[in-house]
Amino acid sequence: MSDIPGDLKFTKSHEWIREEDDGKVVVGITDHAQAALGDLVFVEPPEVGSEVAVGEACAVVESVKAASDVYSPVSGEVVEANEALADSPELVNQDPYGDGWIMRIELSDASELDRLMDANSYEATLED
């Protein structure tokens, strides 16, 4: 059974979003996603300073067997990417909601957060 923290928001494409106090969000991929991908061996982070739109492919996670896009759950500016993943992509497998975070985005439209799923809704999509 995959881990789905109750304090996060989620997308259908298996990203998680943690709201911070200052209008920024942290984004990663869910425990379910990392388990489905298997051992990650490379993460191509988004470019810091780039503008991203909701649903835009902005990072790539690669397991031994395939490359998968990470889609931005919100619109805004990428203000930070997790540099530790360059040397240790396996952090995404080991700690998907913690050290395995992928990027920090400064929101351009906070109302977009309302369209994301809560933990219960996300869990329901996994059961389908």
Binding site: G38, D39, V41, F42, E44, V60, E62, S63, V64, K65
Partner: protein, 361 residues
């Protein structure tokens, strides 16, 4: 729902994630593909390869039939038990399939061909028997388990019937022996020592569980792919197919040109290609930058032209990306690869990348 090997239930019980492979539901990994990979490089792992197609070729004319059918020469196989890797070509020299043939005695051969090509292979084998007295018998009653790794033979031997252990342990590389109802072959697809064991399907689960009990780690097709690629071994359908000849696929060494009077299917096309110059070659690539080579990425060769990655992955042993690529014949020792719009540098190397646990590049 795909076809299931006889070991399907035990795979699921052991935690396998199952995926479709050539119409079969097969384990891709049992938790960690990378750990499975390292188990084979450093200790012992096992693969259920029962989806592969086993075909017996019997009859007085079997040798002559295979001498015409296969680009490598079964005439070289004079010691019973000897195995040989070869391509089966069409008239244009394109590769219908690659396979292992075991010479078990006069008029007694066994082929192991790929699962995904089973239908066309069987049709081709049948089609070429016209006027030849040879029996082609597919063996769906058999299963196949590969045990691979530096400790694989030692561990697996303990699970074989006691009267067969010495004979199994004394097999030389690329030799096989019928031991009771097993065919034990010192062959594999990982670049490590080990056996491929063909056995009655109804005893396969028991053997699999016995191997697991002595510490041979179940491994999925994911690790099988990274292991074979590190070992520089081609995968049919990715690195070669009917549109490429062995000479363009790094498999020139498997084509037996002598004796000249052996008119194997595809020979004339290969001779013509050799005369006119082989336009492309299959090379190994080591990615210099961070990233992962994948099949179908474009290879850019300055002042020479373009090629394509045919297989690519992250090498768990080398901790960097490796691949095979088909490139223009004039390609030198460095190329660029287009990965999502970026040009990343790669070094051209001669496979294997890894052999017997050691880096070779």
């Amino acid at each position: 729902m795909g076809k299931k090997t006889v070991n399907y239930d035990v795979h699921v019980e052991q935690g396998a994630r199952m995926v479709d492979f050539g119409g079969w539901d097969m384990p891709v990994h049992y938790g960690s593909q990378i750990e499975e990979h390292h188990a084979v490089r450093t200790d012992a792992g096992m693969f259920d390869v029962s989806h592969m197609t086993v075909v017996d070729i019997d009859g007085a004319a079997a040798g002559a039939y295979l001498e015409r059918l296969l680009a490598n020469d079964v005439g070289k196989l004079t010691t019973p038990g000897k195995a040989m890797y070869t391509c089966m070509l069409n008239e244009d020299g394109g590769v219908i399939d690659d396979l292992i043939t075991y010479y078990l005695g006069d008029g007694d051969y066994r082929l192991v061909v790929n699962a995904a090509t089973r239908d066309k292979d069987m049709a081709w084998l049948e089609q070429q028997t016209e006027g030849i007295d040879v029996a082609i018998t597919e063996r769906p009653d058999l299963a196949m388990i590969a045990v691979q790794g530096p400790n694989a033979r030692e561990k697996a031997a303990a699970c074989l019937p006691s009267q067969h252990r010495d004979a199994a342990m004394s097999l030389s590389p690329f030799f096989a022996a019928r031991l009771g109802d097993l065919l034990v072959a010192r062959t594999g697809y990982t670049g490590e020592d080990g056996w491929e064991i063909i056995l009655p399907a109804d005893s396969s689960e028991e053997m699999w569980r016995a191997f697991a009990a002595v510490g041979i780690r179940p491994c999925g097709l994911g690790a099988r792919d990274t292991l074979r690629l590190e070992a520089g071994m081609n995968l049919y359908g990715s690195d070669m197919d009917e549109t490429t000849t062995p000479l363009e696929s790094g498999l020139g060494w498997t084509v037996a040109w002598e004796p000249q009077e052996r008119r194997f299917i595809g020979r004339e096309a290969l001779e013509a290609q050799r005369r006119e110059g082989v336009p492309r070659k299959l090379v190994g690539l080591l990615l210099e930058d961070r990233g992962v080579l994948r099949a179908h990425q474009k290879v850019l060769v300055d002042r020479v032209g373009e090629g394509e990655v045919t297989s690519g992955t992250f090498s768990p042993t080398l901790s960097r990306s490796i691949g095979l690529a088909r490139v223009p014949a004039g390609t030198g020792d460095s190329v660029d690869v287009d990965i999502r719009g970026k040009r990343l540098a790669a070094r051209v190397v001669r496979p294997p990348f890894v052999r017997h646990g050691k880096a070779r590049v």
